[in-house]
Symmetry: D3
Subunit: 173 residues, 6 copies
């Protein structure tokens, strides 16, 4: 099983915000956006492992700017690191108003997927080899984010999160 | 502005998993579930503050058991703590197969909402007064979760997260 | 097969009225509401019989107050009586505007479901034992409503509807 | 305001049953069908009164034969009688499997609509003049169905339902 | 296999334009209309051949008048000619505003469908016999439209399109 | 008003085929695909003109390979030529099965959009300057396709379609 590069799983998704996607202020609902992000991230994960995938977890998401009715949503996704049977996917989300020529950040997020075999058991996935410095930065951070995920999910004791402990209070995750 | 209790915002949402909600394994897609959770949590937040709300952030979510096509999804939500203009909402999600009389946990999550005034500016929300020990436990943890959220969002320096620092490696968030 | 109580099948469903659910006046369309009521009632029926169910009939529904865009819809459902292979489910529907702290009745309704076995043939369901006086009142009325249903569906001669005949002109169904 | 004929409001709606319209047996859900019927009936009512309409009530509906995934749904609707500001609409629903050349009845129903003026107040609608014997039969029955509706909705005392009383036990409504 | 008439496949579909069907001007999106037309045309094709069908191609469509939110869409479809295993379906689309009593043309179109057998291979379909002069006109034009379709799809050399060549510059297709 | 290049409007849209998007064979319905193509093409057109757009017409589309349930749909779109107030958009559509590592063409198409000003009147759009030989090829063909569109729409006499006449029987449109 050969390794893959982040660019191999690069996925772009584009949507227009329609009336039913909006709250009473006419802005895209957070829940609808998370639904689209889940689909974009699942496609990136499938590109990496060439197998069906299921969402295992979603990291913290902060919604910075509302995306308005009629505006376009851009979602970019790619795998940042592979862990035996799971993959972390990084997403960047922008809104864009073409009539105003105004493009604005909505959020960044990390989704984790598990690859499944035909019996619905986890299966091995190719390793990921970072290429650019940005790839390497996301690859390194993936280990700490994974430890935080396991602690928050009650599956790791904080004392065992060596990389997280060392770095948590030095830089942003 | 009087304070409110967690039970005042208690909300129950029930859905059946239909074909379009499922992935190729016939299980509920994570993204669809997050969409429903967003609506249930928004209702709980509106109950607390009696104002329109927008999703500000979502904490880590781990999906523990897949929910199958035709099964029922139960979502329970209530506000755990209020912070000036924002509210943290705790959600518990179960799946249930009535024909098998089998009920199973899917996940727990925390969504944060901001209340808006008619000019779309943040407005004050009632404080939350915990009543039961469980309420108090969630209320106390909300402060640490908020500090983690702010650090992860780049809006707080780790050194200033006093409560989180003191407790992060002692108990689960 | 043990009998069950009305509380055993108690189901709560909560929805927000989104743009696509509304007519040109910005109010919830009757058809969309009946769709949601069908799902809530089906869940209540499945809770009672622990088997798959199909909608057999719907009684008269009067829509009293329109539910507005952005308002919350509350649907409460529970089984009121079981008849060999079918169950009558009672639904109460409210709208609620949290920003105005205004809660208003939309309608009450009765849906009837049939339980099916794996060969899609009707199967026996547990009997229902009323507990409270309200339970008893709904349980008693179910017989008359069933006779009316059978007459309206052309499956019973009016002369055979003994309970209905005796009571029809004395009190509301 | 001139009167209209039943044929003036005659409306045909045709749909294919898609996966998301079905229950676990692969048959059209009752709730989805009632949603489509509401739209077909609303169009018939608008044709009659040339004004926006809202659903006031729905009479008893019995679902006789399940409509299968991939089958076609036919809904025919027309106004049967007008009452000052409201209209009764009669619906006939069939399923059809073209590959088997098999056409089967699903149900018949009566929906009632109220016409609204721009201030959302009920407005007068044209009277309906029956033409064929079938038109006349439905026109005559509409009065009794209306009395039953008012009694079931608690808006008329059974003793005042003269036509219903006289005929209720003589023929089917 | 007997032949069929255009009237045998005549299909009427009626829809109301809801908020999610519209663009930022509050008019029906072209893409949504083509989706409805595809379903109406598929029903007409199934009526003709009594077999499952798949869309093979769509001819040029010009959208003449926008259809507004809340207006009714009428789609009429019938088969115009059969070619061994495929059928051409002609569609006429109108919008109608009942409150203004205003009916306006949206577009005309031709969809082509292929009938499939249980192994998903193309199967023979009944021939079509035109009855009225209008039927004959559409039947004759179908041959030229088919040649144009094959040329545009790169499956026929222009020199072989005898009927099209002879008539293309004499009258409208 | 400066001119733009084809790459300026380049748009990528990615979707997963869900159950409700499929016909009875489990393949993507043509109508759903045309709906997605309409949105992708509209985004490309808005990128070019920075104004709201409406679909004016769609050219012949042939569906070559069915796209299966669970497969990914890729839609690429960019403007090929601008005509005073309208733009022609070229779309390429592929399906992809990541588990089989199999990518296949579905179709190519041309959609035409008109840019509107705030009064809903057509407005001028920037001219398009082709850059690559492929750009130039599409740019040149756009004139002939436009003449064919006008002839098919009854807005141009065949004799006036000089470019189309000269080239129609020499190469594919």
């Amino acid at each position: 099983m050969i390794s893959k590069k982040p660019a191999d799983s690069y996925t772009v998704m584009t949507e227009i915000v329609l009336p039913n996607d909006t709250n009473v202020f006419g802005n895209l609902m957070g829940g609808r956006l998370m639904y689209w992000m889940d689909i974009a991230a699942a496609i990136a994960a499938m590109k990496h492992c060439n197998a069906p995938v299921v969402t295992a977890s979603v990291d913290n998401i902060s919604f910075e700017n509302p995306i308005k009715l009629g505006n376009t949503v851009h979602i970019e996704a790619n795998v940042t690191r592979a862990f035996t049977t799971s993959m972390e996917v990084h997403l960047k989300v922008w809104g864009e108003d073409y009539t105003q020529q105004y493009r604005y950040k909505s959020n960044e997020a990390y989704y984790t997927f598990v690859a499944l075999d035909p019996n619905r058991k986890p299966r091995l996935v190719p390793t990921l080899e970072p290429v650019t410095p940005e790839d390497q930065h996301l690859f390194d951070g993936a280990l700490r984010r994974r430890q935080l995920r396991l602690i928050l999910g009650g599956k790791m004791k904080p004392d065992d999160a060596v990389e997280l402990k060392a770095l948590f209070f030095k830089e942003q995750l």
